[in-house]
Each structure stands twice: as structure tokens, then as C-alpha cells.
């Protein structure tokens, strides 16, 4: 019985908005950024203004990972064996920590409505937010990870493998986190629900990420693991923004 709003298409000669090079219609090209890059730049600038909050996931990662040697004991053999798992689990939890706030602020201050009304497809909004999230949280984890490799006495090839898997895996976490953040938008206990929703989806990345490092440690090739992680990354990069966009539409209604 409910009929959606029908928007009559306009006459064909008015083509859709020009992109990229066609920006001159709306002002000088020097200052007209594409909305997509403008959104990423804004999120990075906001993170730079709130450095303490932005660096919280890395701080959490650092503290959590360095607690393990204290708790488990300083046996080099034991530490080396559990290092990939520890680093990966800590990276996963650090990503989850920050992703709960991905859309909450934009939702609260009305920016999200503006993003959806900007004419930029919601999929691009989701993609830009995920990229910005990865740049703010995933990239610092990648920088910090080798230090923990040394702390756990990992071999150099194993540290290399850890970096590759984190480089492939942390974007997966950002993409999946975006879906969860959009789905739980406006809910009172959204943070907890988000972790329950998203953590199970992150398990494949965790298994293949930690598994690759384990394979290198035991002298095997990790190529299969890399390929599977790459496939996971491509799948989530294609599907997660679509799901996020749909969830955003629902939560702003």
C-alpha cells in the first residue's frame, strides 16, 4: 500500500553532474575537490585535531600486545610461537575499538544527512569513510607491528609476512566495521552489538593472517594465505560499501 516517492526523470539533454574535470562549472578548479576526496580529507583533518582520540587504537594495541610477555612468561620459544596470533588479535580488537564511532558523530550532528544528500552515491560515502578509517587506525598499526615482531623475537621473514597480512587484513576490518557501524547507528547499546555482529565476520581474516605468519615460521610458503586474504579483501571492498550504504539509508529514515 505504500508507494515510494517517484521522482520523474528529467529531460535527457541534462546530463548527470560532470565529474572530476568538469568541476569548472562550480568554481575554480584549484579549490574544487571531488566530494569523495573532500570527505576523506575532512576525516583526516578531524583525526589530526583530536590526536589523542585518533591514536587510542594504536595505544591499545601497544599496551595489549606488550602485556602478553608479562602474563605468559618470557620463554622465547613460547612467545615466538604465539606472536602472530597475539599481534593479529590485538590489531583486530584495536580496529573494533575505533570503528564504533565511525558514523555516530556524523549521525548526531546532521552531517550524515548532508553526505547522503550531496549527490555522491552512498556507496562512495561508505568507501571514503572506510578509507579514512583505515588511514587513521590501520596504517599506524602497520607501523607499530614490526616493533612487536622484534619484541616477540620473530624472525625477519616472519615479520615481513606479518606486515603483508596486516596490510591486506586491516582494510578488511575497516570495511566490515563500517557495515556494523552503519547497522547499529542510533542504537543505545550499539557498541556492544556492533562487536557481536562484526567479530565473527572478521574471523577468516584472523585465521589466514595469523596462519600465514605461522607457515613462514615453520618454513612453509604463505602464498595460499596471501591469496585468500587478498580474495577476502577484494570481496569485502566490493560488498561492504554496498551493505553500508543500504544500512545508512535505513538508519537515517
Amino acid at each position: 500500500m505504500s508507494s515510494p516517492a517517484t521522482i520523474r526523470p528529467r529531460s535527457p539533454q541534462t546530463a548527470p553532474a560532470p565529474r572530476g574535470g568538469g568541476d569548472s562549472a562550480w568554481g575554480g578548479p584549484a579549490h574544487s575537490r571531488h566530494p569523495f576526496t573532500a570527505l576523506i580529507a575532512r576525516d583526516l583533518r578531524l583525526a589530526a585535531r583530536r590526536r589523542v582520540e585518533a591514536l587510542l587504537p594504536v595505544a591499545f594495541f601497544t599496551v595489549a600486545a606488550s602485556l602478553f610477555p608479562l602474563g605468559v612468561g618470557p620463554e622465547p620459544q613460547v612467545l615466538r610461537q604465539m606472536a602472530p596470533g597475539v599481534v593479529w588479535v590485538c590489531a583486530l580488537l584495536a580496529s573494533m575499538l575505533s570503528v564504533t564511532q565511525l558514523y555516530a558523530q556524523d549521525h548526531a550532528d546532521g552531517s550524515l544527512e548532508q553526505l547522503l544528500l550531496s549527490g555522491m552515491p552512498p556507496v562512495l560515502v561508505a568507501l571514503a569513510k572506510a578509507i579514512a578509517h583505515w588511514l587513521v587506525t590501520g596504517l599506524p598499526l602497520l607501523v607499530a607491528a614490526p616493533i612487536f615482531g622484534l619484541l616477540f623475537d620473530m624472525s625477519v621473514p616472519a615479520i615481513g609476512a606479518l606486515l603483508i597480512t596486516l596490510a591486506l587484513g586491516t582494510p578488511i576490518l575497516s570495511f566490515l566495521g563500517g557495515v556494523g557501524a552503519a547497522l547499529t547507528l542510533g542504537l543505545r547499546s550499539g557498541g556492544v552489538l556492533l562487536i557481536l555482529l562484526i567479530l565473527p565476520l572478521c574471523i577468516p581474516a584472523l585465521i589466514f593472517g595469523a596462519g600465514a605468519v605461522g607457515a613462514i615460521e615453520s618454513g612453509l610458503s604463505a602464498r595460499g594465505h596471501y591469496s585468500l586474504l587478498g580474495a577476502l579483501l577484494i570481496t569485502t571492498a566490493l560488498l561492504a560499501p554496498l551493505a553500508t550504504a543500504a544500512a545508512l539509508r535505513i538508519s537515517t529514515e
Binding site: 566530494p35 546532521g110 544528500l117
Partner: protein, 207 residues
């Protein structure tokens, strides 16, 4: 643009049904109604942020020649200002302009802020601004508009002082003269005299 037999549901409650609205170029429409009658919901329907429970919204091609899809034929400024606490007034306006593909040259942005009386605060972070000043920064976006689009403004006069109201009246008048149209809500009596706002009341709409 016409809205035909529009119905809106909020949770279990039907806010209004059979609501008819027609907007022509050069009109300023003032939506009135008691609190909770669905003014904001109606504006969100018109902006395309929500889909109606019943009825339909149609766009006539004469209203706007420049834009091809819904988001680009209207400017929506909601009850919240959509400003980021940590950005400065200028940065906020610049982001809005870039996001909506409006002129974002420093000159255009500064002129817009100057017109809204916020030029002196352009480098102040939004969190240091008062409620009225934030509203001015949010409304400065309207100074960048050159096309006769539909403006959908939710309580634009909220928190503005007399001078701010005058500026906004000027903007609305100029926009209507260009052939643009405005739908707005306000709980205060409008001081706008040119064009005379058309009053649409939600209180009479059957619920």
C-alpha cells in the same frame, strides 16, 4: 514540485495523511503546525531523506533546469547545523561547498561568511561559537547558491538575532527573485515581506 496525498508514519503513529502541497518557482512556503505534528518529517520527505508512507512526490521539470537528480535540485538545512566541533567556520563551509559541488574558492567562502556576519570568526573552531553563530555558519551555505533550486530549511531562524534574521530574509528574497523556491518551518512569525510567504498548516491535515 508537487506532493500528492502524502502520508507520514512515525513509529506506530500516523502523523498526517492526504497532505497536498504544490511548490512553484518564486514561492516561499511556511509550514506551520504544533509541536509533534510532523513539520520536520514533512521536510525530510521533501528532501528525499525518508520515503512517504503513502502518496508521492513529483518534480516538475520547470522548477529547476540545472540539476538532474534529487539531491542536486535542493538544498536541505536541517535542525542540526551539520558542523564539526573541531573544524573552523571557514573549513566547515568549505567542506559543505565541496561536498555539494558549489563554488569553494577562498574568495567565495569569505564573501559568504562576511555576508552572514561571521567573517571575523572564520578561523575560530566551531566549538567556541555560540548557537546563533553556528546557525549563521550553517546558513552561509545559502550565500553560495546561484541556481534557482528548492531550499528546504528546518527552523532556519532558530537562534538567530535580529540582524541574522534580516540577512536570511534578504537571502530568501533574493532566491525567490531568481525563481527559486523555499519551504521552511518557523515557530516565530516571519518578517519576510517580499515575497509574501504562503502559509501551509499541518494542523488541519487529517491524521
Amino acid at each position: 514540485m508537487t506532493a500528492h496525498a502524502l502520508g507520514c508514519r512515525r513509529g506506530d503513529r500516523l502523523l498526517f495523511t492526504g497532505f497536498e502541497l504544490e511548490i512553484h518557482p518564486g514561492q516561499v512556503i511556511w509550514v506551520r503546525g504544533a509541536n509533534g505534528r510532523g513539520k520536520t518529517s514533512l521536510l525530510r520527505l521533501l528532501a528525499g531523506l525518508a520515503s512517504p508512507e503513502q502518496g508521492e512526490i513529483k518534480w516538475a521539470s520547470t522548477l529547476n533546469q540545472a540539476a538532474a537528480d534529487t539531491p542536486r535540485r535542493l538544498v536541505y538545512i536541517g535542525h542540526s547545523n551539520a558542523l564539526k566541533e573541531d573544524l573552523t567556520a571557514l573549513e566547515s563551509l568549505q567542506f559543505m561547498a565541496q561536498l555539494h559541488r558549489r563554488p569553494a574558492s577562498p574568495q567565495a567562502l569569505e564573501d559568504a561568511l562576511r555576508r552572514c556576519g561571521m567573517h571575523g570568526h572564520r578561523h575560530a573552531p566551531v566549538r567556541t561559537l555560540s548557537q546563533g553563530q553556528r546557525r549563521r555558519v550553517a546558513l552561509a551555505r545559502l550565500c553560495l547558491e546561484t541556481e534557482p533550486l528548492l531550499w528546504v530549511l528546518d527552523e532556519p531562524f532558530d537562534a538567530l538575532d535580529i540582524q541574522g534574521v534580516e540577512t536570511l530574509d534578504g537571502l530568501l528574497g533574493g532566491h525567490a527573485q531568481r525563481g527559486g523556491s523555499v519551504v521552511l518551518t518557523s515557530h516565530l512569525a516571519l518578517t519576510l515581506s517580499n515575497p509574501q510567504p504562503i502559509v501551509v498548516s499541518l494542523d488541519n491535515a487529517p491524521a
